[in-house]
Amino acid sequence: MDNPEIDINKENPKSKKNSLSILWARLFKKLFSSHNLGDFIFERLTLLFAVLVFLLVILMGYEMYVGSKISIDKFGWSFLTNSVWDPVQEIYGALPIIYGTIVSSFLALVISVPLSIGIAIFLSEVSPDWLEKPLSFLVELLAGIPSVVYGLWGIFVLVPWIRNDVEPFLSEHLGFLPFFRGAPYGFGMLAAVLILAIMVLPIISSISRDILKSVPQSQREAALALGATRWQSTKIVLKDAKSGILGATMLGLGRAVGETMAVTMVIGNRAVISPSLFDPSYTMASVIANEFTEATSEMYLSALIQLALVLFVLTIIINAFAKLLVWSMERKLGTR
């Protein structure tokens, strides 16, 4: 490879006019030499779209910050700690809503995580190959059902069942606990928890299955060779996969926190803090879905956008944490 520019450079080191023309020559060469122009444009073009994705996420945060400016200025951090949500008097405190979001998601995970781990164990450790494919297909089919169809099913099938069978049963046998008191209304925290548990199941179980499968086969063989039973070898595999499963759980949490339609349709939509699972509640996503088109005043709209901002930040933190866990798991297995 010959480099003509360098030669020119050496010949006229001090001439300013010349160095400018050299710059032009270099640029010209970069743009038009042999087949560089197409590459140049192509790379910049794809870069442009990548930058677009980058800007989009920033823009989302910025738009919501600007949109909620009035509410942020008025309420500040008390938005998160005040427990009165009263659009009529223009007082917006999101505490009961945040409470509803966290409790519903957490309880959904309490139901969903053990089941998901069970499914993951069955699919990766127990089931024969011919059974594994159709079963994982069925479980993943759950993820493909639109949220609003879950909600529809919730209203007409799940809620009546909860009202007529589950809640009377629970209040009769466990009524001494504060969690199972009150009128069996059907719509409420319990319905939301059950429907969320079903909805996050496919996410947690399919990621956990992939993670269990990524644990090297030699781990199982070593355990089995030492005389361990299937369950004992599975326990060793689970120990290896711990952080990955935690990551899958966090991804499920992120989904549960942001789940909108199904929850809005069954949770009862009332911003109250009640220990009873029978009582209606509210989540951040369902408040926005339910009240956004009804928001008549600027302050009301601003408060709802602020709620969206809180939800945005919360899901980013949860997902980043989840990604970190899954990454650390992959790295751990990769270096072995």
């Binding site: 738009e63 089941l115 639109p146 909600g151 996503a285």
Partner: protein, 284 residues
């Protein structure tokens, strides 16, 4: 001797119990799936007739009618979403796989993951502040933008993964023949990976077809026939939501039918997805 035998039996029993519990967990997960499909099909079939596809919704309180406008609306909304999401997704995915081995690439990769975790309702709020507020009215365009944003992470990541699967030797062969890199990427790499990319696109589209939350205050809904993208537009999902909440039994039943039609539409997309992936593995 006997005690060791006892422990041997005990741990065997424990193992058998735990392993069967894992089977029970799998069966429990399948129950809601069966229930949801059973109700959607059995309740949805009552209104599944030609009218549903060609007639317009009847005024409040009148029985019958169809959702022709919502079916067209859903297709148009995912069309607008695709027109935004597909180019951005495919191009940024190409960038990530071909030029993205640097800090900026890692950042974009992280941000697409972040974007895929953002709740769809939040995207709806952003589309509202970005499009609806400046335009001063609800529009299908705003809804399409929200759906497009929701498609981007799926398409970007699938494109990247699929392009990475293309063997390096193919690229090198192209470059060795003196073909410029951009031509190699488009004519050889993207052409080899297009089936995989198409599955990603279909996945993104079918997810967008089932979205409701981002449409509630962007495309809003419309009881009349409208194909104007600058006006509110009906969609199946928003109809399901409205009709499910309504006190009219007739509307409730139509919600089930709409759910059935929606699921059929989505499964047709996934069927296409499966056919494409299958033929991909056959040729390999």
């Amino acid at each position: 001797m006997t005690s060791s035998k006892f422990f041997h039996i005990k741990r065997k029993i424990t193992s058998a119990v735990m392993m069967s519990l894992s089977l029970v967990a799998t069966l429990i997960a399948v129950i809601p799936l069966i229930l949801i499909f059973y109700y959607t099909i059995s309740k949805g079939i009552t209104y599944l007739n030609i009218d549903f596809f060609v007639a317009m919704p009847k005024p409040v309180g009148e029985a019958g009618g169809g959702m022709a406008n919502a079916i067209v609306g859903t297709l148009m909304l995912i069309g607008i979403g695709g027109a935004i999401g597909i180019p951005v997704g495919v191009m940024s995915g190409t960038y990530l796989s071909e030029f993205g081995n640097n800090k900026f690439g890692a950042t974009v990769r992280f941000l697409t993951d972040v974007l895929s975790g953002v709740p769809s309702i939040v995207v709806g709020v952003v589309a509202y502040t970005l499009v609806v507020v400046p335009m001063k009215h609800f529009s299908a365009f705003a809804g399409g933008i929200a759906l497009g944003i929701l498609m981007i992470p799926t398409i970007t990541r699938t494109t990247e993964e699929m392009i990475k699967l293309v063997p390096h030797s193919l690229r090198e062969a192209g470059l060795a023949l003196g073909i410029p890199k951009w031509k190699t990427t488009i004519l050889i790499v993207l052409k080899t990976a297009w089936k995989g990319i198409a599955t990603g696109i279909l996945l993104g589209l079918s997810r967008a077809a089932g979205e409701t939350a981002p449409l509630l205050f962007t495309a809003l809904g419309n009881r009349f026939w409208s194909t104007n993208v600058m006006q509110p537009m009906a969609s199946l999902t928003v109809y399901i939501y409205d009709y499910a909440k309504s006190p009219f039994e007739d509307w409730n039943n139509q919600a089930w039918t709409a759910a059935l039609v929606l699921i059929i539409m989505i499964s047709m997309l996934s069927l296409l997805f499966r056919i494409i992936t299958r033929s991909k593995f056959k040729t390999k």
